[in-house]
């Protein structure tokens, strides 16, 4: 397929799109080498890159990334499925909203990090506690968005469907669900960011693998370059996941981008 002119990737375009990152790296390199702060405390990006290559070569980072990614994705999926399902129900049913929303609203302001000690007591330091913590944290932003999306379906959409005498199931799957999708997409993207925060925190609190664990071990060994390499990896994973989700949504639901342009 021929790329349209505005889709073409050019060197100049790449530079402009990533100018802030390039400037940040240059400033960091200059500051790191200036001697203003000891190089082992504030290693420049080239040192961090060297540490990164070492970690990749030893296989440690790849193993940690695989474990963290698995935890983030599985936790995010469970939290998102529950958030979307319950959000749709509370958004559309006055009765269910009346019974469920108060308890959800009670837990929502709770910092998800605060439940980790309790979760460890309940489930130990294995995978279940990490997945539970991530899923718990992801649930709230996804629920809130799905709930609001389902509530904000224009009434004329539903009246039109009623006049066309379509089934209740069709109203749900073809009107309410897609009609809530712009909100749900925002919730899912928010959920990804939350999932990566929770992966890091739950791996700090008790784990023997994962990027968060790597940061914790590097901290004990006073290897700031390795800590920074692991942090950059975590940031990259979060940003890439968000990008891939956006692409997936655009591909599955092409009308979303036309809605943005209108």
């Amino acid at each position: 397929m021929k790329l349209k002119s505005n889709d073409a990737i050019t060197f100049s375009g790449l530079v402009h799109d990533n100018l802030s990152i390039l400037l940040f790296l240059i400033l960091w390199e200059i500051l790191g080498r200036s001697g203003f702060v000891h190089i082992s405390l504030f290693p420049p990006p080239t040192y961090v890159l060297k540490a990164f290559v070492e970690m990749v070569a030893s296989g440690d980072l790849i193993r940690d990334v695989a474990v963290s990614l698995w935890r983030a994705i599985v936790g995010w999926m469970f939290g998102s499925l529950a958030g979307i399902g319950i959000g749709m129900l509370t958004g559309r049913s006055v009765k269910i909203n009346r019974y469920l929303s108060p308890i959800i609203q009670l837990f929502r302001p709770l910092p998800p990090v605060a439940i980790i000690p309790l979760v460890i007591v309940w489930f130990g330091i294995g995978e279940l506690s990490k997945l539970f913590s991530i899923g718990f944290a992801v649930f709230f932003p996804v629920w809130m968005n799905a709930h609001m999306g389902a509530q904000r379906i224009p009434i004329s959409f539903l009246w039109s469907a009623k006049s066309l005498r379509v089934s209740e199931a069709a109203v749900f799957w073809k009107i309410i669900f897609p009609g809530s999708l712009t909100f749900i997409a925002a919730g899912l993207r928010n959920g990804i960011a939350v999932a990566f925060v929770m992966v890091f925190v739950s791996e700090l609190a008790g784990a023997s693998s994962g990027v968060g664990y790597e940061i914790s071990v590097s901290h004990l060994a006073y290897r700031v370059d390795r800590m920074m390499a692991a942090l950059a990896t975590l940031a990259f994973l979060g940003a890439t996941s968000d990008y891939l989700l956006t692409r997936l949504l655009d591909r599955q639901f092409p009308w979303l981008k036309y809605l943005d342009q209108k």
Partner: protein, 241 residues
Amino acid sequence: MTANTVIEVNNLNVGYDDVNILHDVSFKVFEGEFVSLIGKSGCGKSTLLLALAGFINSQGICQIPSELGMIFQNYAVYPWMTVRENIAFGLGHLPEGERKQVESHYLELVGLVEHGEKYPTQLSGGQMQRVAFARAFAPNPQVIFMDEPFGALDIFTRDKMQDWLNSIWEKEHKTVIFVTHNIEEAIYLSDRIFIVGNGSIIGEFRPPFGRPRIDEMKYSSHFMDLKRNVAEQLESSQLRS
């Protein structure tokens, strides 16, 4: 020849809390008639349409076919469905071959054949409203309700859409109830006009024009006189409230 009564309304009342929106509304609409409900903003004309459609609670006797089509001012076409999918949305009961045939017929009727695979947000306001018309007409309902369908369009598009609706109506001959606050539009399109004021029907006019309607008739003295009479009746309803 006496036309069949399609809609019969007797003493229809609609109220929220202690506020009476509509009271003792009674009228009949005959098969193949184009009837307009005209009134000022807040007079209850859209409420009357929604009550007739059964979308809001009402008291009184209201005999109306169960098969009806609905067109709204905000188009209410689904942005996540293509034009073709929107038109086919109410045709799920038909076998696939027949569904495709009906879909294509209405796509052609509303002049959107080349836009069938587009999403509504890629279309202009007038085109979006034509999708809404095609979707409402496609399941072949007995009655079509139109709630200020051209209200969101600019004056030029609105004029074009009136002519277009006239030509569609000539072909389909559906029973239509059309809500508007535009006197000229009501006269140009309708067989009968009900004046809605203070929550009830306070007057009725029959535009004395044959069909098909042509744009030039808007400049005739008969048209102007009728326009003045309808305006005066609307004005008097305002004074009484």
